[in-house]
Point group: D2
Chain length 368, copies 4
Amino acid sequence: MTGNSIGDSFKVTSFGESHGKCIGVVVDGCPAGLKLSEEMIQRELDRRKPVQEIFSTSRSEEDRVEILSGVFNGYTTGAPICMVIWNKEFDSTSYERIKFVPRPGHADYTAYIKYGGFNDYRGGGRFSGRITAGFVMAGAVAKRILKLLNIEVLAYTLEIGGIRMKQMDLNEIREHVEKSPVRCPDLEASEKILEMIENVKIEGDSLGGVIECLALNVPAGLGMPVFDTLEGDISKALYAIPAVKGVEFGRGFNVAKLRGSENNDQYTIEDGKVVTITNNSGGILGGISSGMPILCRVAIKPPSSISKEQYSIDLVKMEKRTLVVEGKHDVCIVPRAVPVVESMVAIVLADHAMKAGIVPKVVKDVIE
Amino acid sequence: MTGNSIGDSFKVTSFGESHGKCIGVVVDGCPAGLKLSEEMIQRELDRRKPVQEIFSTSRSEEDRVEILSGVFNGYTTGAPICMVIWNKEFDSTSYERIKFVPRPGHADYTAYIKYGGFNDYRGGGRFSGRITAGFVMAGAVAKRILKLLNIEVLAYTLEIGGIRMKQMDLNEIREHVEKSPVRCPDLEASEKILEMIENVKIEGDSLGGVIECLALNVPAGLGMPVFDTLEGDISKALYAIPAVKGVEFGRGFNVAKLRGSENNDQYTIEDGKVVTITNNSGGILGGISSGMPILCRVAIKPPSSISKEQYSIDLVKMEKRTLVVEGKHDVCIVPRAVPVVESMVAIVLADHAMKAGIVPKVVKDVIE
Amino acid sequence: MTGNSIGDSFKVTSFGESHGKCIGVVVDGCPAGLKLSEEMIQRELDRRKPVQEIFSTSRSEEDRVEILSGVFNGYTTGAPICMVIWNKEFDSTSYERIKFVPRPGHADYTAYIKYGGFNDYRGGGRFSGRITAGFVMAGAVAKRILKLLNIEVLAYTLEIGGIRMKQMDLNEIREHVEKSPVRCPDLEASEKILEMIENVKIEGDSLGGVIECLALNVPAGLGMPVFDTLEGDISKALYAIPAVKGVEFGRGFNVAKLRGSENNDQYTIEDGKVVTITNNSGGILGGISSGMPILCRVAIKPPSSISKEQYSIDLVKMEKRTLVVEGKHDVCIVPRAVPVVESMVAIVLADHAMKAGIVPKVVKDVIE
Amino acid sequence: MTGNSIGDSFKVTSFGESHGKCIGVVVDGCPAGLKLSEEMIQRELDRRKPVQEIFSTSRSEEDRVEILSGVFNGYTTGAPICMVIWNKEFDSTSYERIKFVPRPGHADYTAYIKYGGFNDYRGGGRFSGRITAGFVMAGAVAKRILKLLNIEVLAYTLEIGGIRMKQMDLNEIREHVEKSPVRCPDLEASEKILEMIENVKIEGDSLGGVIECLALNVPAGLGMPVFDTLEGDISKALYAIPAVKGVEFGRGFNVAKLRGSENNDQYTIEDGKVVTITNNSGGILGGISSGMPILCRVAIKPPSSISKEQYSIDLVKMEKRTLVVEGKHDVCIVPRAVPVVESMVAIVLADHAMKAGIVPKVVKDVIE
């Protein structure tokens, strides 16, 4: 209940600050015998990089993971795995100037109130998007566990700035997603999004979007009703990503307009297996996985840091003032958030898989 | 991690089954000295009743709460509060007939898989909407705690079957909501919804909708980032309500279409207090309450029990078959879910208020 | 963190008061498919009865368990199991008279301070030994789970009032323990203890003792270092029994006087299995079970309710006064505490067995 | 439930291995605004050093703490505090030679079974006494919090190898304890202990002992019955110290020989405050602090690493063999364990103080 840990059987504890010494994470509960290396983690971490110089900060983050504990001779030991990224020296002077002037949309004001002004405000401190690098490191471990179960987590950009991808089948999506600099598998839409990003960058403004995430081959039976439902735990995990403002499953908010006869997923048998003809539920019934693909969508708000002048206040003088947030800003973080969404979903599924007893406590890992 | 408890400092443990002996709840962590009676709980519980004969089951549920522990001489003692509703005898024969035939949209199939067929399937067992009566009992206690802090939680029907209420101000909403049999404060929309419900009832089908929920006077500073965010915990709690498929805060999924300059809530000072000019964030920044009203919306799917024939399978014979779900069904549970949504939000806020240390451990309760 | 729940994967939540409506417990996390009946629970509960009229309260407690949820057709469903004992009407008038005069040795004073006087003081309320009836109900479920693994938990009176049982082998202990009205398998010592109890009863005083508890056939590998050690979790569980003031494992406090060469348990191979030649560690190394019998001892203080005059104070008048605790008192609760100690150890072992993944989530229970 | 975290409101997560890169700890839940520096932590850490060359390993550990997060401008920020000690290069060759030969008394065998041989066995890995350096770092933070409440935790050597300190009053103890190289405040006993240590060192054997720990000025009302009792949580925390085999409170195991009339702590009023005439309960009644000093005793086994030949087995060949544990060994760890015992008690008290709501969430720290 101290806020910086998530998961019961696969527990992730986050620490570190944007402009502090490091961003780190402790993963406790990982089975012993899992093959794990810094390279494996790094591969995931690299996906969180700003995708193209064009629409991102020019700050080139060469984040390198270092494993501090829990791995021995290339395998997990069953002990807690601590991983860190050492921060480069950041210039925090611009933050000093506005430390009593909360940036609209950011957590500056709420953090100031909650921590009485003692919080590390440089670069947003604990509230920086940079914290999600830790989530990705933990997510990389979770994905290794899911791989043992043949579970795949796949996210992609569904929509940015109102431009939405067309309906595509799974194989197409999988094939195209990493070809798009904005991780939108519909390459035509991807082009349009890039163009929009460029324009909005010039305006000094920013763009939101929607990420869709699939989890495939999740066996039926994961989830712990009535409170630790799969939807509930996935949602909660996703809200740890700073920009998330909505999460929905299956048909999501559209269910409000459907009749029961349209929304119910009717059963049939396919290849001797029970399946549903549709998957409006997003693979979850009663908080428990049904064996159908888990499907969720995540609303990502436009980055709060924009170059336009905004109204704010001075918290010490209690005076109104205006503010222009300095520096180069991400116009849109949706593409970078894609691997973070995957990570959060993977962390929850790994936790639930372990709780369901389908992950061995000692793994004989042979997957590469 | 066993699934049936929620909350850290204000912990709710649910038990009971739809057609078992009772529906119950244990509330642990409630401060001592809070005035509490069965009448107070009952008042909330009565709000969960089917609102009008017209669109609901004719099964008249006279659910009476009994407090089994934790209250002495009219005040809470600091000990766990166990509350139950004793179930009437239900006729479960129709459930016996289909115990191996999962009803589409219900949790029958996932429960069968997870519990190996040992689950109590009568009336949906643990997965029945009836379980939420326990949430309302716990929510009534939570609301008492929030009242000490002057916090009000107010939910209402925003939309049913595509009919959406007009924009209204807070006072109007508060005044009209309980006048509408479907808890839609826009009484014109309410009329149309009633009509639609009647029609859909004749068709033997069902209707979904959206509930909006406000929490007013929540002080800035509640929420425990990075994982136990207010959005995350509220979402998770809401997904315990069987029919929820989406949760969003503030502008929610609409943020995807907004620019940063439109979405950022800029600051100003009003009556010597820091406020934001807009409240697109829904009163939460960085997972922490900002002092502005907390605003969320919840997508409620149409009830799965419909009178139309549907495809299903026989899990024992592994054969396809059709199924007509017998009995009288709720056409739309949105109005009944309104107090349940309020309860879940109240439970989370009470928990966070206690974690934030703003609720005394011993209350001198004088509020009526 | 609200205090009334214990266990992670097998979670026990206690509620109820000594003179309230009931004593109850919710067991969450029990696998589905376990055969369970009120008779099975009752059998354990009966062992907690005052053993002989001679040394106990004359209050004849006919505690009958009622299962309220979680069991269907004679098997657990995977849903939380709520069990209660309905209290008889107790005469609480003597407690009314001394409600501001804390009884020495009882929790009256600390409860008064903690709960601001709102606690139910009748019969000790939550702090009564009667609360342990709930532990025994939960322990009975835990023992069912352990039986699947062939684990046996066996406790007995090692010492009362300074009279200690002789060294005996396991079979003798198992055979004789229930023959002794004070649960001391050394029947000669048992006789002497009975005599002493009779004498101390006449004096209006009370007696303490030591309970020894064995857990047999516990497989190597249970326990979650570094904090959730088997010793740590067993100790913590045992301190929930009101009278416990010390817990030790294996040689316990005697290790202080041993050399390493005497205390180390050296290894050998027996019937192809790794065993230790001695078992000074009490079957636990590094917080993890070694496969040798787990052995702990529990110090039980003499009951605080005695007929002798004692010094106390009036908390309202803040005046010194004397007090004679009225009513008939247990001279010694050690024999009654034996099944409670077994229950707490069983609860912890069931929890750890489930965490270790060696209990199936769905049991095909055939044991009688 | 993953084992490496303890505490609810003040949560400590341990990581690192004896011969890995580091020993570390994350402290989550610490209030913001607490003055904290590496020097403050280091001071406590230095107390864990081998006290005298004579009876300790010659391995001179110059453990330097580094704070990685959670402290900004000399004050805690409310964010998780990660602290590490970077390990020197250790020679692990002797461990390689015996990696399949469990050292008697150590956790080698149980760890091998639990983690399938994947555990880091070098220097005992996670089971090394070195892990307790992390506990001391966390304990140093806890002590800072307790200082705000004027709570003092004071431990000392009560007994080593059968030599027990005489009865002394608190001021004497406080004054003398750090003058004794073995932390025994009875300096005559201290001399005898030193002599015994020297002799036992020559024999290649080791010595156990008992540590006594006091917590002073703990306000009445801490503790969360019925399960999260103060005794239970303190015990559990102490069993994380590798050598602990028994914990008792107040009169501890001696209560077994006392009558109720001797053991009950009768009440009186002193300086307008409620106190007990004796303190046999060790300052805890019903699991809740009474305002009297908390007193516990901890049995510490003799170090398992001795120079004498011992029986063991080869786990791979499944053959009996003998073993001489190489290297220089601590003859007795009791003196080094004194600050570790203090740390564990401080961690639990800080956690309970925070749960009781008596620690502000934002501290205006002025203590030096």
